[in-house]
Amino acid sequence: MRGGGLWQLGQSITRRLAQADKKAVSARRFFASEADLKKTVLYDFHVTNGAKMVPFAGWSMPIQYKDSIMDSTVNCRENGSLFDVSHMCGLSLKGKDCVSFLEKLVIADVAGLAPGTGTLTVFTNEKGGAIDDSVITKVTDDHIYLVVNAGCRDKDLAHIEEHMKAFKAKGGDVSWHIYDERSLLALQGPLAAPVLQHLTKEDLSKLYFGEFRILDINGSTCFLTRTGYTGEDGFEISVPSENAVDLTKAILEKSEGKVRLTGLGARDSLRLEAGLCLYGNDMEQHITPVEAGLTWAIGKRRRAEGGFLGADTILKQLEKGPSIRRVGIISSGPPARSHSEIKDEKGGADLGEVTSGGFSPCLKKNIAMGYVKSGSHKAGTKLKILIRGKAYDGVITKMPFVPTKYYKPS
Protein backbone atom coordinates (compact mmCIF):
# COMPACT_ATOMS: atom_id res chain seq x y z
CA MET A 1 0.00 0.00 0.00
CA ARG A 2 2.88 2.38 -0.65
CA GLY A 3 0.70 4.49 -2.91
CA GLY A 4 1.33 1.98 -5.69
CA GLY A 5 -0.81 -0.53 -7.46
CA LEU A 6 -2.42 -3.77 -6.48
CA TRP A 7 0.87 -5.63 -6.58
CA GLN A 8 2.11 -3.54 -3.70
CA LEU A 9 -1.21 -4.02 -1.99
CA GLY A 10 -0.79 -7.77 -2.33
CA GLN A 11 2.77 -7.60 -1.06
CA SER A 12 1.70 -5.57 1.89
CA ILE A 13 -1.07 -8.01 2.76
CA THR A 14 1.25 -11.01 2.38
CA ARG A 15 3.85 -9.38 4.56
CA ARG A 16 1.30 -8.58 7.20
CA LEU A 17 -0.26 -12.03 7.18
CA ALA A 18 3.19 -13.48 7.64
CA GLN A 19 4.11 -11.34 10.56
CA ALA A 20 0.82 -10.54 12.25
CA ASP A 21 -0.40 -12.81 14.94
CA LYS A 22 -3.97 -13.11 13.85
CA LYS A 23 -5.52 -12.33 17.15
CA ALA A 24 -8.47 -10.08 17.75
CA VAL A 25 -8.18 -6.35 17.51
CA SER A 26 -7.29 -4.55 20.66
CA ALA A 27 -5.33 -6.89 22.84
CA ARG A 28 -2.75 -8.04 20.32
CA ARG A 29 -0.02 -6.07 21.94
CA PHE A 30 3.32 -6.86 23.45
CA PHE A 31 3.38 -9.81 25.80
CA ALA A 32 5.70 -8.66 28.55
CA SER A 33 5.92 -10.52 31.80
CA GLU A 34 3.66 -9.25 34.55
CA ALA A 35 6.53 -7.53 36.30
CA ASP A 36 7.15 -5.41 33.20
CA LEU A 37 3.59 -4.16 32.83
CA LYS A 38 3.01 -0.60 33.97
CA LYS A 39 0.04 0.21 36.16
CA THR A 40 -2.00 3.39 36.27
CA VAL A 41 -2.88 4.87 39.65
CA LEU A 42 -6.37 3.42 39.20
CA TYR A 43 -5.16 -0.19 38.95
CA ASP A 44 -6.32 -1.27 42.40
CA PHE A 45 -9.59 0.62 41.93
CA HIS A 46 -10.21 -1.27 38.69
CA VAL A 47 -9.55 -4.64 40.27
CA THR A 48 -11.78 -3.85 43.24
CA ASN A 49 -14.53 -2.93 40.80
CA GLY A 50 -14.40 -6.22 39.00
CA ALA A 51 -12.16 -5.37 36.07
CA LYS A 52 -10.65 -8.00 33.80
CA MET A 53 -7.11 -6.70 33.36
CA VAL A 54 -5.12 -7.40 30.18
CA PRO A 55 -1.81 -6.18 28.80
CA PHE A 56 -2.06 -3.26 26.41
CA ALA A 57 0.91 -1.33 25.05
CA GLY A 58 3.01 -2.34 28.04
CA TRP A 59 0.35 -1.46 30.60
CA SER A 60 -2.08 -3.56 32.58
CA MET A 61 -5.45 -2.13 31.56
CA PRO A 62 -9.09 -3.03 32.13
CA ILE A 63 -10.62 -4.66 29.07
CA GLN A 64 -14.04 -4.84 30.69
CA TYR A 65 -15.72 -4.89 34.08
CA LYS A 66 -18.61 -7.00 35.30
CA ASP A 67 -20.92 -5.94 32.51
CA SER A 68 -20.39 -7.33 29.02
CA ILE A 69 -18.68 -5.35 26.30
CA MET A 70 -22.05 -5.10 24.55
CA ASP A 71 -23.88 -3.70 27.57
CA SER A 72 -21.02 -1.36 28.36
CA THR A 73 -21.01 0.06 24.84
CA VAL A 74 -24.75 0.62 24.79
CA ASN A 75 -24.60 2.20 28.27
CA CYS A 76 -22.05 4.74 27.08
CA ARG A 77 -24.42 6.04 24.46
CA GLU A 78 -27.46 5.88 26.73
CA ASN A 79 -25.90 7.19 29.92
CA GLY A 80 -22.16 7.51 30.05
CA SER A 81 -18.80 5.86 30.47
CA LEU A 82 -15.67 6.68 32.42
CA PHE A 83 -12.43 5.36 30.98
CA ASP A 84 -8.99 5.29 32.54
CA VAL A 85 -6.75 6.27 29.64
CA SER A 86 -3.73 7.16 31.73
CA HIS A 87 -1.61 4.89 29.60
CA MET A 88 -1.75 7.53 26.88
CA CYS A 89 1.00 10.15 26.93
CA GLY A 90 0.19 13.82 27.56
CA LEU A 91 2.82 16.48 27.01
CA SER A 92 3.25 20.21 26.56
CA LEU A 93 5.42 22.09 24.13
CA LYS A 94 6.33 25.55 25.33
CA GLY A 95 8.31 28.48 23.99
CA LYS A 96 7.72 31.30 21.58
CA ASP A 97 8.53 29.08 18.60
CA CYS A 98 6.56 26.04 19.71
CA VAL A 99 3.92 26.57 17.02
CA SER A 100 6.35 26.76 14.11
CA PHE A 101 8.23 23.81 15.60
CA LEU A 102 5.16 21.62 15.75
CA GLU A 103 4.01 22.65 12.28
CA LYS A 104 7.02 20.84 10.83
CA LEU A 105 5.81 17.59 12.35
CA VAL A 106 2.03 17.67 11.91
CA ILE A 107 -0.47 18.44 9.18
CA ALA A 108 -2.59 20.84 11.22
CA ASP A 109 -2.74 24.60 10.83
CA VAL A 110 -1.48 25.10 14.37
CA ALA A 111 -0.92 28.82 13.89
CA GLY A 112 -4.53 29.19 12.80
CA LEU A 113 -5.96 27.57 15.93
CA ALA A 114 -7.61 30.03 18.29
CA PRO A 115 -6.15 29.86 21.82
CA GLY A 116 -8.02 27.28 23.84
CA THR A 117 -8.95 25.18 20.82
CA GLY A 118 -7.55 21.97 19.46
CA THR A 119 -7.93 19.39 16.76
CA LEU A 120 -7.15 15.84 15.74
CA THR A 121 -3.94 15.74 13.76
CA VAL A 122 -1.38 13.33 12.35
CA PHE A 123 2.37 13.23 12.89
CA THR A 124 3.86 12.38 9.51
CA ASN A 125 7.12 10.84 8.41
CA GLU A 126 9.24 11.75 5.40
CA LYS A 127 7.12 9.60 3.10
CA GLY A 128 3.90 11.24 4.22
CA GLY A 129 2.89 8.19 6.25
CA ALA A 130 1.42 8.42 9.73
CA ILE A 131 3.72 8.13 12.72
CA ASP A 132 0.77 8.59 15.08
CA ASP A 133 -2.51 10.43 15.40
CA SER A 134 -2.95 12.89 18.23
CA VAL A 135 -5.26 15.51 19.66
CA ILE A 136 -3.34 18.77 19.89
CA THR A 137 -4.52 21.95 21.58
CA LYS A 138 -3.15 25.42 21.36
CA VAL A 139 -3.43 26.62 24.95
CA THR A 140 -1.74 29.95 24.16
CA ASP A 141 0.59 31.05 21.37
CA ASP A 142 3.54 29.70 23.33
CA HIS A 143 1.99 26.61 24.81
CA ILE A 144 0.66 23.55 23.02
CA TYR A 145 -0.82 20.57 24.88
CA LEU A 146 -0.99 17.22 23.12
CA VAL A 147 -1.89 13.61 23.82
CA VAL A 148 -0.39 10.70 21.89
CA ASN A 149 -1.11 6.97 21.83
CA ALA A 150 0.36 4.73 24.47
CA GLY A 151 1.65 2.27 21.91
CA CYS A 152 3.53 5.04 20.09
CA ARG A 153 4.89 6.86 23.12
CA ASP A 154 8.53 5.88 22.74
CA LYS A 155 8.49 6.36 18.99
CA ASP A 156 6.73 9.74 19.17
CA LEU A 157 8.88 11.15 21.95
CA ALA A 158 12.07 10.08 20.19
CA HIS A 159 10.82 11.69 16.99
CA ILE A 160 9.85 14.95 18.70
CA GLU A 161 13.10 15.04 20.66
CA GLU A 162 15.23 14.53 17.57
CA HIS A 163 13.55 17.38 15.78
CA MET A 164 13.59 19.57 18.87
CA LYS A 165 17.38 19.20 19.15
CA ALA A 166 17.86 20.29 15.55
CA PHE A 167 15.35 23.13 15.94
CA LYS A 168 17.03 24.46 19.07
CA ALA A 169 20.48 24.15 17.51
CA LYS A 170 19.29 26.68 14.95
CA GLY A 171 18.20 29.01 17.72
CA GLY A 172 14.52 28.03 17.99
CA ASP A 173 12.82 28.50 21.36
CA VAL A 174 10.96 25.34 22.32
CA SER A 175 10.98 22.99 25.30
CA TRP A 176 8.74 20.18 26.45
CA HIS A 177 7.26 18.66 29.56
CA ILE A 178 5.87 15.13 29.65
CA TYR A 179 3.04 14.73 32.13
CA ASP A 180 4.02 11.51 33.86
CA GLU A 181 2.74 13.04 37.08
CA ARG A 182 -0.77 13.28 35.67
CA SER A 183 -3.46 10.75 34.84
CA LEU A 184 -5.99 10.94 32.05
CA LEU A 185 -9.68 10.10 32.34
CA ALA A 186 -12.20 10.10 29.51
CA LEU A 187 -15.81 10.84 30.44
CA GLN A 188 -18.17 10.23 27.53
CA GLY A 189 -21.90 10.08 26.86
CA PRO A 190 -25.01 12.22 27.34
CA LEU A 191 -24.47 12.42 31.10
CA ALA A 192 -20.82 13.51 30.83
CA ALA A 193 -21.49 17.26 30.93
CA PRO A 194 -24.29 17.23 33.54
CA VAL A 195 -22.22 15.03 35.85
CA LEU A 196 -18.99 16.96 35.42
CA GLN A 197 -20.84 20.23 36.00
CA HIS A 198 -21.45 19.13 39.59
CA LEU A 199 -17.70 19.05 40.12
CA THR A 200 -16.64 22.40 38.69
CA LYS A 201 -17.72 26.03 38.92
CA GLU A 202 -16.83 26.73 35.29
CA ASP A 203 -19.85 26.86 32.98
CA LEU A 204 -19.37 23.81 30.78
CA SER A 205 -22.17 24.85 28.42
CA LYS A 206 -19.70 27.39 27.02
CA LEU A 207 -17.01 24.80 26.35
CA TYR A 208 -17.56 23.41 22.87
CA PHE A 209 -16.18 20.39 21.02
CA GLY A 210 -12.43 20.76 20.54
CA GLU A 211 -12.05 23.42 23.21
CA PHE A 212 -9.70 23.36 26.18
CA ARG A 213 -9.57 24.89 29.66
CA ILE A 214 -7.32 24.66 32.66
CA LEU A 215 -9.67 24.72 35.62
CA ASP A 216 -10.48 23.37 39.04
CA ILE A 217 -12.41 20.11 39.05
CA ASN A 218 -13.24 18.45 42.35
CA GLY A 219 -10.57 20.50 44.09
CA SER A 220 -7.63 19.95 41.75
CA THR A 221 -6.24 21.74 38.72
CA CYS A 222 -7.21 19.81 35.63
CA PHE A 223 -6.69 20.17 31.90
CA LEU A 224 -10.08 19.73 30.30
CA THR A 225 -10.65 19.08 26.60
CA ARG A 226 -14.09 18.60 25.14
CA THR A 227 -13.16 15.66 22.96
CA GLY A 228 -13.16 11.89 22.95
CA TYR A 229 -12.91 8.65 21.09
CA THR A 230 -16.52 7.50 21.12
CA GLY A 231 -18.50 9.90 18.94
CA GLU A 232 -20.47 11.01 22.00
CA ASP A 233 -20.25 14.36 23.74
CA GLY A 234 -17.63 14.16 26.43
CA PHE A 235 -14.34 15.22 27.91
CA GLU A 236 -10.80 14.11 28.46
CA ILE A 237 -9.60 15.19 31.88
CA SER A 238 -5.93 15.38 32.80
CA VAL A 239 -5.77 15.29 36.59
CA PRO A 240 -2.78 15.17 38.96
CA SER A 241 -2.27 11.46 39.64
CA GLU A 242 -2.65 11.86 43.40
CA ASN A 243 -6.22 13.11 42.80
CA ALA A 244 -7.20 10.64 40.10
CA VAL A 245 -8.91 8.05 42.27
CA ASP A 246 -10.92 10.69 44.13
CA LEU A 247 -12.02 12.31 40.90
CA THR A 248 -13.03 8.92 39.51
CA LYS A 249 -15.08 8.16 42.61
CA ALA A 250 -16.66 11.61 42.57
CA ILE A 251 -17.73 11.27 38.93
CA LEU A 252 -19.24 7.83 39.50
CA GLU A 253 -21.04 9.00 42.64
CA LYS A 254 -22.48 12.14 41.08
CA SER A 255 -23.92 10.05 38.27
CA GLU A 256 -25.69 7.81 40.80
CA GLY A 257 -24.30 4.76 39.09
CA LYS A 258 -25.47 5.66 35.59
CA VAL A 259 -21.97 6.48 34.38
CA ARG A 260 -20.04 3.23 34.55
CA LEU A 261 -16.38 2.39 34.56
CA THR A 262 -15.76 1.17 31.04
CA GLY A 263 -12.86 -0.79 29.60
CA LEU A 264 -10.87 -0.95 26.41
CA GLY A 265 -13.13 -3.58 24.88
CA ALA A 266 -16.12 -1.26 24.79
CA ARG A 267 -13.85 1.66 23.90
CA ASP A 268 -12.86 -0.15 20.74
CA SER A 269 -16.48 -0.89 19.81
CA LEU A 270 -17.42 2.72 20.42
CA ARG A 271 -14.66 4.21 18.31
CA LEU A 272 -15.35 1.75 15.50
CA GLU A 273 -19.04 2.74 15.53
CA ALA A 274 -17.90 6.38 15.39
CA GLY A 275 -15.68 5.67 12.38
CA LEU A 276 -12.49 6.67 14.21
CA CYS A 277 -9.11 5.18 13.30
CA LEU A 278 -7.13 3.00 15.65
CA TYR A 279 -3.44 3.64 15.05
CA GLY A 280 -1.73 0.35 14.41
CA ASN A 281 -4.78 -0.99 12.59
CA ASP A 282 -6.42 1.68 10.43
CA MET A 283 -3.43 3.93 10.27
CA GLU A 284 0.18 2.92 10.03
CA GLN A 285 3.58 4.16 8.98
CA HIS A 286 2.86 3.56 5.32
CA ILE A 287 -0.62 5.09 5.22
CA THR A 288 -1.00 8.80 4.53
CA PRO A 289 -3.67 11.01 6.08
CA VAL A 290 -5.16 11.47 2.60
CA GLU A 291 -5.57 7.71 2.17
CA ALA A 292 -7.03 7.54 5.69
CA GLY A 293 -9.72 10.07 4.82
CA LEU A 294 -8.24 12.77 7.03
CA THR A 295 -7.74 15.39 4.34
CA TRP A 296 -10.02 17.66 6.38
CA ALA A 297 -7.34 17.66 9.08
CA ILE A 298 -4.74 19.10 6.71
CA GLY A 299 -4.96 22.84 7.26
CA LYS A 300 -5.89 24.85 4.19
CA ARG A 301 -2.78 26.96 4.48
CA ARG A 302 -0.70 23.80 4.91
CA ARG A 303 -2.07 22.41 1.65
CA ALA A 304 -0.81 25.46 -0.13
CA GLU A 305 2.47 25.86 1.75
CA GLY A 306 3.49 22.35 2.79
CA GLY A 307 6.30 22.60 5.32
CA PHE A 308 5.67 19.35 7.16
CA LEU A 309 7.39 15.99 6.78
CA GLY A 310 6.14 14.11 3.74
CA ALA A 311 4.36 17.17 2.34
CA ASP A 312 5.51 16.35 -1.21
CA THR A 313 3.79 12.97 -1.21
CA ILE A 314 0.70 14.30 0.50
CA LEU A 315 0.29 17.33 -1.72
CA LYS A 316 0.63 15.08 -4.77
CA GLN A 317 -2.09 12.81 -3.43
CA LEU A 318 -4.31 15.82 -2.83
CA GLU A 319 -3.82 16.83 -6.41
CA LYS A 320 -4.12 13.46 -8.13
CA GLY A 321 -6.13 11.54 -5.55
CA PRO A 322 -4.75 8.67 -3.48
CA SER A 323 -4.65 5.15 -4.91
CA ILE A 324 -6.38 3.62 -1.88
CA ARG A 325 -8.96 4.97 0.51
CA ARG A 326 -10.30 4.10 3.94
CA VAL A 327 -13.94 3.02 3.87
CA GLY A 328 -16.59 1.75 6.23
CA ILE A 329 -18.22 -1.60 5.51
CA ILE A 330 -21.33 -3.33 6.81
CA SER A 331 -21.30 -7.06 6.16
CA SER A 332 -23.24 -10.25 6.75
CA GLY A 333 -22.03 -13.49 8.26
CA PRO A 334 -19.34 -13.43 10.90
CA PRO A 335 -17.78 -10.08 11.87
CA ALA A 336 -14.91 -9.13 9.56
CA ARG A 337 -11.59 -8.90 11.36
CA SER A 338 -8.27 -7.23 10.58
CA HIS A 339 -6.50 -8.52 7.50
CA SER A 340 -9.58 -10.11 5.96
CA GLU A 341 -9.35 -9.75 2.20
CA ILE A 342 -11.85 -7.63 0.34
CA LYS A 343 -12.88 -8.74 -3.14
CA ASP A 344 -15.22 -7.25 -5.68
CA GLU A 345 -18.92 -8.12 -5.82
CA LYS A 346 -18.24 -11.23 -7.87
CA GLY A 347 -15.64 -12.39 -5.40
CA GLY A 348 -12.95 -12.23 -8.09
CA ALA A 349 -10.74 -9.17 -8.16
CA ASP A 350 -8.80 -7.97 -5.09
CA LEU A 351 -10.08 -4.67 -3.80
CA GLY A 352 -8.23 -4.31 -0.54
CA GLU A 353 -8.29 -5.46 3.05
CA VAL A 354 -10.09 -4.94 6.32
CA THR A 355 -8.09 -3.12 9.00
CA SER A 356 -10.61 -3.18 11.89
CA GLY A 357 -13.88 -4.94 12.36
CA GLY A 358 -16.33 -6.25 14.88
CA PHE A 359 -19.93 -6.53 15.86
CA SER A 360 -21.63 -3.21 16.60
CA PRO A 361 -23.50 -3.46 19.90
CA CYS A 362 -25.59 -0.41 19.05
CA LEU A 363 -26.49 -1.30 15.46
CA LYS A 364 -26.48 -5.07 15.97
CA LYS A 365 -24.64 -5.44 12.67
CA ASN A 366 -21.11 -6.29 11.62
CA ILE A 367 -19.13 -3.11 10.96
CA ALA A 368 -15.62 -2.79 9.65
CA MET A 369 -13.06 -0.35 8.31
CA GLY A 370 -10.65 -1.13 5.58
CA TYR A 371 -8.80 0.18 2.57
CA VAL A 372 -9.94 -0.33 -0.99
CA LYS A 373 -8.52 0.88 -4.25
CA SER A 374 -9.81 4.25 -5.36
CA GLY A 375 -12.68 3.96 -7.75
CA SER A 376 -14.25 1.22 -5.68
CA HIS A 377 -14.64 3.35 -2.58
CA LYS A 378 -18.03 4.96 -3.07
CA ALA A 379 -20.80 4.33 -0.55
CA GLY A 380 -23.14 1.65 -1.81
CA THR A 381 -20.41 -0.33 -3.60
CA LYS A 382 -21.04 -4.02 -3.06
CA LEU A 383 -18.14 -6.26 -2.25
CA LYS A 384 -17.19 -9.59 -0.72
CA ILE A 385 -15.12 -10.20 2.38
CA LEU A 386 -13.20 -13.45 2.76
CA ILE A 387 -13.44 -14.88 6.23
CA ARG A 388 -11.91 -18.28 6.89
CA GLY A 389 -12.07 -19.18 3.24
CA LYS A 390 -15.70 -18.19 2.62
CA ALA A 391 -16.94 -15.05 0.89
CA TYR A 392 -19.58 -12.96 2.62
CA ASP A 393 -21.52 -9.98 1.27
CA GLY A 394 -20.56 -6.48 2.28
CA VAL A 395 -21.42 -2.96 1.24
CA ILE A 396 -19.41 0.22 1.59
CA THR A 397 -21.11 2.46 4.10
CA LYS A 398 -20.51 6.06 5.09
CA MET A 399 -18.99 6.59 8.51
CA PRO A 400 -19.72 7.25 11.30
CA PHE A 401 -21.88 4.16 11.54
CA VAL A 402 -23.61 5.63 14.59
CA PRO A 403 -24.36 9.37 14.33
CA THR A 404 -22.00 11.49 16.38
CA LYS A 405 -23.16 13.86 19.08
CA TYR A 406 -20.32 16.34 19.37
CA TYR A 407 -21.26 19.46 21.34
CA LYS A 408 -21.04 22.27 18.84
CA PRO A 409 -22.55 25.74 18.84
CA SER A 410 -25.91 25.75 17.05
Binding site: V47, V54, I63, I69, G333
Partner: protein
Protein backbone atom coordinates in the same frame (compact mmCIF):
# COMPACT_ATOMS: atom_id res chain seq x y z
CA UNK B 1 -13.48 -24.48 21.72
CA UNK B 2 -9.88 -23.45 21.30
CA UNK B 3 -9.53 -19.71 21.22
CA UNK B 4 -6.98 -18.07 19.12
CA UNK B 5 -7.50 -15.50 21.71
CA UNK B 6 -9.55 -15.80 24.86
CA UNK B 7 -9.15 -12.31 26.11
CA UNK B 8 -8.23 -12.31 29.75
CA UNK B 9 -7.78 -16.05 30.06
CA UNK B 10 -5.04 -16.62 27.53
CA UNK B 11 -3.33 -13.29 27.98
CA UNK B 12 -3.59 -13.70 31.72
CA UNK B 13 -2.30 -17.27 31.53
CA UNK B 14 0.86 -16.18 29.78
CA UNK B 15 1.33 -13.32 32.12
CA UNK B 16 0.29 -15.04 35.29
CA UNK B 17 -2.18 -12.33 36.17
CA UNK B 18 -5.31 -13.41 37.95
CA UNK B 19 -8.46 -13.38 35.91
CA UNK B 20 -11.53 -11.96 37.58
CA UNK B 21 -13.31 -14.97 39.01
CA UNK B 22 -16.94 -14.81 38.02
CA UNK B 23 -17.86 -17.56 40.42
CA UNK B 24 -18.47 -21.16 39.56
CA UNK B 25 -19.76 -21.98 36.08
CA UNK B 26 -22.30 -24.78 35.77
CA UNK B 27 -20.90 -28.20 34.96
CA UNK B 28 -23.45 -30.94 34.20
CA UNK B 29 -22.79 -34.39 35.60
CA UNK B 30 -23.92 -36.61 32.75
CA UNK B 31 -21.84 -34.98 30.07
CA UNK B 32 -18.31 -35.55 28.86
CA UNK B 33 -15.87 -32.71 28.34
CA UNK B 34 -12.88 -31.85 26.16
CA UNK B 35 -9.95 -29.73 27.24
CA UNK B 36 -10.97 -27.10 24.72
CA UNK B 37 -14.25 -26.61 26.60
CA UNK B 38 -16.73 -28.50 24.44
CA UNK B 39 -19.24 -30.85 26.03
CA UNK B 40 -20.50 -34.11 24.54
CA UNK B 41 -23.84 -35.81 25.37
CA UNK B 42 -23.66 -39.44 24.32
CA UNK B 43 -27.00 -41.07 23.48
CA UNK B 44 -26.36 -44.45 21.89
CA UNK B 45 -24.39 -43.89 18.71
CA UNK B 46 -25.24 -40.20 18.51
CA UNK B 47 -23.41 -37.39 20.28
CA UNK B 48 -24.68 -33.83 20.77
CA UNK B 49 -21.95 -31.20 21.08
CA UNK B 50 -21.84 -27.68 22.43
CA UNK B 51 -19.58 -25.38 24.42
CA UNK B 52 -19.63 -25.22 28.19
CA UNK B 53 -20.91 -22.54 30.53
CA UNK B 54 -17.30 -21.81 31.47
CA UNK B 55 -16.48 -21.24 27.80
CA UNK B 56 -19.41 -18.97 27.03
CA UNK B 57 -18.71 -16.95 30.15
CA UNK B 58 -15.14 -16.30 29.08
CA UNK B 59 -16.14 -15.57 25.49
CA UNK B 60 -18.71 -12.93 26.25
CA UNK B 61 -21.70 -12.20 24.04
CA UNK B 62 -21.72 -14.57 21.07
CA UNK B 63 -22.72 -12.73 17.91
CA UNK B 64 -22.20 -15.41 15.27
CA UNK B 65 -21.75 -19.15 15.04
CA UNK B 66 -20.12 -20.63 11.95
CA UNK B 67 -21.86 -23.94 11.45
CA UNK B 68 -20.51 -26.83 9.39
CA UNK B 69 -22.44 -28.63 6.64
CA UNK B 70 -24.62 -31.60 7.55
CA UNK B 71 -22.91 -34.67 6.16
CA UNK B 72 -19.37 -33.46 6.65
CA UNK B 73 -17.08 -35.48 8.86
CA UNK B 74 -15.29 -34.45 12.01
CA UNK B 75 -12.26 -35.79 13.83
CA UNK B 76 -11.69 -35.74 17.56
CA UNK B 77 -9.73 -32.62 18.41
CA UNK B 78 -10.12 -30.90 15.03
CA UNK B 79 -11.96 -27.72 14.25
CA UNK B 80 -15.47 -27.96 12.82
CA UNK B 81 -16.55 -24.35 12.99
CA UNK B 82 -16.14 -21.15 14.92
CA UNK B 83 -17.87 -18.98 17.44
CA UNK B 84 -17.59 -15.20 17.32
CA UNK B 85 -17.96 -12.83 20.22
CA UNK B 86 -17.96 -9.04 19.96
CA UNK B 87 -14.20 -8.99 19.93
CA UNK B 88 -12.78 -12.42 19.26
CA UNK B 89 -13.09 -15.54 17.12
CA UNK B 90 -12.74 -18.99 18.67
CA UNK B 91 -12.44 -22.32 16.91
CA UNK B 92 -14.88 -25.07 17.81
CA UNK B 93 -13.17 -28.44 18.15
CA UNK B 94 -15.03 -31.71 17.96
CA UNK B 95 -14.76 -33.93 21.05
CA UNK B 96 -15.49 -37.00 18.91
CA UNK B 97 -14.99 -38.31 15.38
CA UNK B 98 -17.84 -39.12 13.06
CA UNK B 99 -20.34 -37.65 10.62
CA UNK B 100 -22.40 -34.57 11.29
CA UNK B 101 -26.06 -35.52 11.11
CA UNK B 102 -27.62 -32.30 12.39
CA UNK B 103 -26.65 -28.71 13.08
CA UNK B 104 -28.54 -26.25 15.24
CA UNK B 105 -29.96 -23.86 12.64
CA UNK B 106 -31.51 -21.75 15.44
CA UNK B 107 -28.03 -20.39 16.10
CA UNK B 108 -28.06 -18.52 12.78
CA UNK B 109 -30.81 -16.23 14.00
CA UNK B 110 -30.13 -16.53 17.72
CA UNK B 111 -26.40 -16.93 18.37
CA UNK B 112 -27.03 -15.71 21.94
CA UNK B 113 -28.48 -19.14 22.78
CA UNK B 114 -24.90 -20.26 23.28
CA UNK B 115 -24.66 -17.82 26.17
CA UNK B 116 -28.13 -18.21 27.66
CA UNK B 117 -28.43 -21.97 27.30
CA UNK B 118 -25.02 -23.50 26.58
CA UNK B 119 -26.04 -27.07 27.47
CA UNK B 120 -29.58 -27.10 26.09
CA UNK B 121 -30.87 -24.80 23.37
CA UNK B 122 -27.36 -23.64 22.54
CA UNK B 123 -26.26 -27.08 21.31
CA UNK B 124 -24.24 -26.82 18.12
CA UNK B 125 -23.95 -30.13 16.22
CA UNK B 126 -25.04 -33.77 16.45
CA UNK B 127 -22.50 -36.36 15.39
CA UNK B 128 -22.91 -40.00 14.42
CA UNK B 129 -20.04 -41.62 16.34
CA UNK B 130 -17.52 -43.53 14.28
CA UNK B 131 -15.42 -44.74 17.21
CA UNK B 132 -17.19 -45.10 20.56
CA UNK B 133 -13.84 -45.75 22.25
CA UNK B 134 -12.98 -42.09 21.82
CA UNK B 135 -15.54 -41.07 24.41
CA UNK B 136 -13.29 -42.61 27.04
CA UNK B 137 -10.64 -40.01 26.26
CA UNK B 138 -12.92 -37.20 27.38
CA UNK B 139 -13.16 -35.85 30.91
CA UNK B 140 -16.06 -36.47 33.23
CA UNK B 141 -17.73 -33.58 35.04
CA UNK B 142 -15.52 -33.74 38.12
CA UNK B 143 -12.28 -33.77 36.18
CA UNK B 144 -13.54 -30.98 33.96
CA UNK B 145 -14.49 -28.80 36.96
CA UNK B 146 -11.00 -29.28 38.35
CA UNK B 147 -9.51 -28.60 34.93
CA UNK B 148 -11.33 -25.26 34.74
CA UNK B 149 -10.28 -24.29 38.25
CA UNK B 150 -6.68 -25.13 37.47
CA UNK B 151 -6.75 -23.25 34.20
CA UNK B 152 -8.19 -20.14 35.80
CA UNK B 153 -6.07 -20.34 38.93
CA UNK B 154 -2.76 -21.20 37.29
CA UNK B 155 -2.45 -17.54 36.44
Amino acid sequence: MASRLMWASRAAFHLRISVFNRGFATVLKDLKYSDSHEWAKVEGGSVTVGITDHAQDHLGDVVYVELPEVGSSVTQGSSFGAVESVKATSDLNSPVSGKIVEVNEELSSSPGLVNSSPFENGWIIKVELSDSGEVGKLMDSERYSKFCEEEDAAH
